[in-house]
């Protein structure tokens, strides 16, 4: 159900970002970029506690008029940011969580590939197809 999915590395550069092509992609890129601040804020807020206790799913980062931005952080500080369309009322928190979980799994699969160097852009076809399936759901 996402209109934009992004994977941000620990150093806050994108490893993967993809949007529904019909929209102005730059706008989504900007939203993802601005959401990084919110992600950092949430991480630091929760960071007082042990990392283990910190939940991976960050929840709604910030809503705009048309879209909502959700965040998810892995233990290695790799961030997943998802922009979803607000017009879909049926989208519930659990669904977002499941989508992030799928993202995380696919990301793990990419990591497992010895030919993938961490820090490279993600070019895995399986990852692409998974993201496509998530985005197509929405549309």
């Amino acid at each position: 159900m996402a209109v934009c999915v992004a994977v941000i590395a620990k150093e806050n550069y994108p490893l993967y970002i993809r949007s529904v092509p019909t929209e102005n992609e730059l706008k989504f890129h900007y939203m993802v970029h601005t959401s990084l601040d919110v992600v950092d804020e949430k991480i630091s807020a929760m960071g007082k506690a042990l990392v283990d206790q910190r939940e991976l799913y960050l929840g709604l980062l910030y809503p705009t008029e048309d879209y909502k931005v959700y965040g998810y952080v892995t233990n290695s500080k790799v961030k997943f940011v998802m922009v979803v369309d607000s017009s879909n009322p049926a989208l519930r928190d659990n669904e977002i969580r499941s989508m992030f979980r799928k993202l995380h799994n696919s990301y793990t699969d990419v990591m497992c590939n010895p030919f993938y160097n961490p820090g490279d852009r993600i070019q895995s076809r399986a990852f692409d197809s998974m993201v496509t399936s998530m985005m197509i759901q929405v549309c």
Binding site: E55, Q123, M130
Partner: protein, 795 residues
């Protein structure tokens, strides 16, 4: 599609081409790969080819049907003739030469163009290997190419002499022949205009060219470049080109491919692995792979760590992106290591890629671990096939741990496997795996903490009821405020009765197995001869019992109080119904003391019981009518079909009476047996004035009992004769202790009353349950609204 008119020559030519492309012998659909090869061979710019494909509708359809193919060919001819590509041009352009395809034919084929017939069976024989032109062509090619092949093979350091290879050399030969011919004509676009499709070599496998974006090796061979490239490609090397991997090349495979030597390895690959299917691994190939596996990992059941595999396959000089994709395909369980099966699959894919076959998007069936025969399935589930694979996620981690630092975490692996399941449709257990996965991941990732809604028990179980009972008893003892206790003199008794009544009511409400619990209650109630249990549904002490929702107990209490008042007021004879507060609950039935009289009349009451029960719920709110002993008399007078209220009231009255008489047995028995009777009997007396709440809180009956006992006692003698059974029963409640001689009858009466009380209370129970459900629904809706509002609170 637009209508297409073809000349005879064109028709024949096109059909030949179509059959050429129709490798699957479907006669209807041309294989996309072949078609694309064909088009590329037409030496048209890429965009033109795409445009042609669009125009002919194949892009829309996704495949090349015969008509699309013909139109496409026509457009090729149009394009080659220099005309702009238009849909209408297919018919308007006259005298188009037949589309020309480069180097497609060898001279022999050209000779046989005319006799070119669709030998799809030939194609079948070389399944997917080389675009096998008609068998004839092949044979000829074979003969012709043999020479070409020989030097080539030798140049490649291969062993052409292998007998196994020879028959299969023709396929490989075709590319060679092709090359040979291509060299000759070198540019020969015009060479064989019509000869017929000839083997179109697609070393590049452009059919899936989209996937080989990063194909550096073959980049130079993209269609646009003119023929020279073909030629150059042909010359290139060692590595490439054995286009069709035919099953043969066993020997090549067996040639030791020194890991260090990429070229030799490539050569070997080149001649190795045909794809019959097209991804099937032959035995020779497999043996070769196994040998290679051993060089890295001596233990065939072990794993090759990702790093080692990376080095190994990097030697193949394939681009990293492709190797990455190969890895994705072959690492079935996504654990970062390769089992023997996975390794073979990966190797096979590398070889295929080297030979020009594009990588599939999904792992072909023949390469899936399950299909590969492994020595051992002990270690890794993925070796054992589907079932085994489903188990592999769990098995893999432990099995791989020894060989390498497994990258898997349990849950990601399971996630991966679940995704694998999704990917490979033939995995039928995907749904199972997914469910497993979900269930497994939940504990593994507690952070997400997605909690399944746990149904909260709404209806108190027997245990609950017992608890409630206990609590009530305790409460009752400590609760002097119970309306039942209004009467100081009877306070203790009332308490007891209230508790019993409460218990009964609680049971009725709580225990959905009302009948069972209900019957059990009387026992308990009965056991409490002291009547320490109040059946008052109105018991204000209900906080203790968990489930029962806030019952109309307050009303009960109110009613009971009213009843109490009434009962007090009704000290006169007929006010015996002052059992007021006795809820219709089953509470200890009026003791058999009352029985003697009532017993006789009970049978008469049977009819009225029904009405009694039905009205009992109605009577709940109407406490005042509850304990109206006058009804007993009325009932006695009218019998049957008394107002339900009467019944209801009578019921409770009966209950207490019975209760007094014979708590335990009478309650049960009375309830079950004489319920009807009791009810009718009760209804009569509890008629007009009190026809309210038989279902009224259980306490009523208790109260009634109390009062009935008290009040009825004096009347016992009177009513037993007048009111008949019920009245007698009711009145005899208190007298129970007195009328020893009437025990039997009293017991029977009490039994009946208990039954009546049972039914009444059952109704009350059902009603309360409904109320409970309603309240719960409201609660759920409110919770939903709350949840909906929650996200906003986070903003």
């Amino acid at each position: 599609m637009e209508g297409l008119t073809l000349s005879d020559a064109e028709q024949k030519y096109y059909s030949d081409l179509f059959s050429y492309c129709d490798i699957e012998s479907t006669k209807k659909v041309a294989a996309n790969g072949r078609v694309l090869e064909l088009f590329r061979a037409a030496q048209l710019p890429n965009d033109v080819v795409l445009q042609i494909m669009e125009l002919c509708g194949a892009t829309r359809l996704g495949y090349f049907g015969r008509s699309q193919f013909y139109i496409a060919l026509k457009l090729v001819a149009v394009a080659q003739s220099g005309f702009p590509l238009r849909v209408e041009s297919i018919n308007t352009v006259k005298d188009l030469p037949l589309p020309r395809f480069i180097a497609s034919k060898n001279e022999q084929e050209s000779r046989h163009a005319a006799s070119y017939s669709s030998d799809s069976e030939n194609q079948g024989s070389y399944s997917g290997v080389i675009p096998p032109p008609p068998g004839r062509g092949q044979v000829k090619k074979g003969s012709v190419s043999h020479d070409a092949v020989q030097p080539r093979t030798s140049a490649d350091q291969q062993e052409p002499a292998s007998p196994v290879v020879s028959p299969q050399q023709s396929p490989p030969a075709s590319p060679h022949t092709w090359r040979k011919h291509s060299r000759h004509p070198s540019g020969g676009n015009s060479e064989r205009p019509l000869a017929g499709p000839g083997p179109f070599w697609s070393p590049f496998g452009e059919a899936q060219s989209g996937s080989s974006a990063g194909d550096a090796v073959w980049s130079g061979h993209s269609p646009p470049p003119p023929q020279e490239n073909w030629v150059s490609f042909a010359d290139t090397p060692p590595t490439s080109t054995l286009l069709p991997m035919h099953p043969a090349s066993v020997q090549d495979q067996t040639t030791v491919r020194t890991v260090a030597s990429a070229t030799t390895a490539n050569e070997i690959r080149r001649q190795s692995s045909s794809y019959d299917d097209p991804w099937k691994i032959t035995d020779e190939q497999r043996q070769y792979y196994v040998n290679q596996f051993k060089t890295i990992q001596p233990d065939l059941n072990g794993f090759i760590p990702g790093s080692a595999a990376k080095e190994f396959f990097t030697k193949s000089k394939l681009p990293i992106l492709e190797l990455s994709h190969i890895w994705e395909l072959s690492d079935f369980d996504k654990d970062g290591a390769l089992t023997l099966d996975e390794f073979c699959a990966a190797f096979h894919l590398v070889v295929a890629r080297k030979n020009g076959y594009d990588l599939p998007e999904k792992l072909p069936e023949s390469l899936m671990p399950k299909l590969i025969d492994l020595e051992d399935s002990a270690d890794v589930g993925d070796q054992t096939g589907e079932v085994g694979y489903s188990g592999s996620p769990a098995e893999a981690p432990p099995s791989k741990s020894p060989s390498m630092p497994s990258l898997n975490q349990t849950w990601p692996e399971m996630n991966q496997s679940s995704e694998q399941w999704e990917t490979f449709s033939e995995r039928s257990s995907s749904s199972q795996t997914l469910t497993q996965f979900d269930s497994n991941i939940a504990p593994a990732d507690p952070d997400t903490a997605i909690v399944h809604p746990v149904p909260i028990r709404m209806t108190p179980s027997k245990i609950h009821m017992q608890e409630m009972e206990l609590k009530r008893t305790g409460n009752d003892h400590t609760n002097p405020t119970s309306p039942l206790l209004v009467k100081p003199s009877d306070l203790s008794e009332e308490n007891k009765i209230n508790s019993s009544v409460k218990f009964a009511s609680g049971n009725t409400v709580d225990g959905y197995s009302s009948s069972d619990s209900f019957t059990s209650d009387p026992e308990q109630i009965g056991n409490n001869v002291t009547r320490q249990r109040s059946h008052s549904g109105t018991s204000p002490d209900n906080p203790a019992p968990p489930p029962p929702p806030p019952r109309p107990q307050p009303s009960h209490s109110r009613s009971s109080s009213l009843d109490m008042n009434r009962t007090f007021a009704v000290t006169t004879g007929q006010q015996q119904a002052g059992v007021v507060a006795h809820p219709p609950a089953v509470p200890p039935r009026p003791q058999p003391s009352q029985a003697p009289g009532p017993v006789v009349h009970r049978p008469v009451d049977a009819d009225s019981l029904i009405t009694h029960t039905s009205t009992s719920p109605q009577q709940i709110p109407e406490q005042p009518n509850f304990a109206d002993f006058s009804q007993f008399e009325v009932f006695a007078a009218s019998n049957v079909n008394e107002e339900q209220e009467d019944e209801a009231e009578k019921h409770p009255e009966v209950l207490p009476v019975e209760k007094a008489s014979d708590p335990a047995s009478s309650l049960r028995v009375a309830k079950t047996d004489s319920k009807s009777e009791e009810k009718t009997a009760a209804s009569a007396p509890a008629n007009v004035s009190k026809g309210t709440t038989p279902l009224a809180p259980p306490p009523k009956p208790v109260r009634r009992r109390l009062k009935s006992e008290d009040e009825l006692r004096p009347e016992v003698d009177e009513h037993t004769q007048k009111t008949g059974v019920l009245a007698g029963v009711l009145t005899s409640q208190p007298p129970l202790p007195r009328s020893v001689g009437k025990d039997k009858k009293a017991i029977q009466a009490s039994i009946r009353r208990n039954k009546e009380a049972n039914t009444v209370l059952a109704r009350l129970n059902s009603e309360l349950q409904q109320q409970l459900k309603d309240v719960l629904e409201e609660r759920i809706s409110l919770e939903v609204q709350l949840e909906q509002l929650r996200p906003f609170s986070h903003l």
